[in-house]
Amino acid sequence: MTAAAQPETHLQKPPTRFGEFWNYYSESRGAVAGLIVFVLLVLMAICAPLLAPHLPDQQYRDAFLTPPIWAADGKSDFILGTDAVGRDILSRLIYGARFSLLMGAMVVVFAMAGGVVLGLLAGYFGGWVDSLIMRIMDIILAFPSLLLALVLVAILGPGLVNAMLAIALVYQPHFARLTRSAVLTEKNRDYVTAAKVIGAGHLRLMLATILPNCFGPLIVQATMSFSNAILDAAALGFLGLGAQPPTPEWGTMLASAREFILRAPWVVTIPGLAILVTVLAINLMGDGLRDALDPRLRKS
């Protein structure tokens, strides 16, 4: 009896916040597809040692520049072929997902943490704090992003971690601006005044009262920054200033494949395709998130 009654009460329950969000999000087929691809990529990165047929740095000296399996002289050992020093491209690609995704994620974490703190301070306190912080953000934004990242890496020295830090610094102002403007609209709402009257301190007002209501746009910005960070990290790797060889980072793989583009197109085509698919999946998710989180767009 109770078992039969349960589904009925379940139906009458209002949808949970996540349920409501998922309803809107899943309306877009592209967003769902993006999410599926992204989850698969993350799983691939985590399970790289289980999935990769070879070690990423293992050189097969009898198999330099082997074409992929579908080409006439491809070998079944190397599904996507090998590179100029005989390393299996598929395995390097699978391991490379770790670097690209991790770099993207860390950039977003650093940029968001810094940007949110600065934006909160600027928006909450206003006055000279606001002016000072936002002018500094303006200065960072005045430089073309990749150029600034490039120069920062020149200062810090090339490498994966430094490239990550440079990109994070360049992205931070976007989060600061977004947080600031969200704080400015929320700050004078009644619930904030109410919390202030009850006696909440500055820190509590900023972090517990106001910040949770600014998350919508921040999540969308974080997704967009994630995909851009992967692109920029790969670009720095491609220019020789990001991850250094023999790291199987996708951009670095492309850089070392450049001289063979006309002789062995697959060494160039495949890593780039991996970057494109990853970035595309994340951007599809970003579009879906924006539509699902922005109530104004829901009706259309």
Partner: protein
Amino acid sequence: MFRYVLKKLLLLLPTLFGITVCAFMFVRLLPGDPILAMAGEHGVTPERYEVLKEQFGYNLPIWQQYLKYIVSIAHGDFGISIATKRPVISEFTTLFPATLELSFAAMLFAVIVGVPVGILAAVKRGQWLDHTVMGVALVGYSMPIFWWGLLLIILFSGQLGWTPVSGRIDLQFFLRPITGFLLIDTLLMGKWDAFLSAARHLILPSIVLGTIPLAIIARQTRSAVLEVLEEDYVRTARAKGLTRLRVVWVHALRNALIPVVTTIGLQASTLMAGAILTETIFSWPGIGKWMVDSIFKRDYVTVQSGLLLVSVIVMVFNVLIDFVYAALNPRIRAT
């Protein structure tokens, strides 16, 4: 309008100050001693070191060094390149037209394709054409352009042999620059074969550099047109019995294109970042490649001044776009 312009220009000052401070600090933030860093692997003798220190003014207090720096750039002295021993500013002025020409061509491509395609997608909203256009635009937006460039080289230069792999013009043509824009210079001299060579060299790089702006412009045009199509005056025009085509082209587009113009203007920064990659791939002798090469050559004087010049140009351009936008849209001036 005058007050708006004045306010914008005043807001520019702190940013300009900040940019000069960043460029100034750049050489001093390099790991280790700036003089040793510039000297590279060869190193310098202690006597030469003192001379260099004196010459660069590193023996002065930091604020005096900054003032000296500001005074010299105000006089147009951006230092001497360590690698080529030529004044940085003269290298910049030689190379900048190449980047400008490439950027213009890229934007031309992006606008000519992006705006009509965006309008078409909006008019056919929800139909397969709209879905296709928006899908392709998202792919374009997600494109690692350094890879895209290599793909186009493989296809058009390698397989089909239609376009050259790199450079700005075939080596057989030696031209004394007039404007620095090869397409214009060759026409002014009446050299048709040189013009065609320059044009063929320009095609692939412009497509590569224009891809991301194209995607952004198409998306922006679509949403701007959609927004305008919902307006009352569009419904009125339709109710009057005007054709769909006339309503879209004459009534809707005029208002829809205002945000699109801004979007086009705001691509300056994107173009500069893209130029770094595009020029590297195609060996295009412009500012982007120059910056990357200078970083690898440890030519930090060039990097420092290049960073400053590029950023100031992008900044000034963005402010000009703000003015154009304000002139087009009176509502902006009021805020």
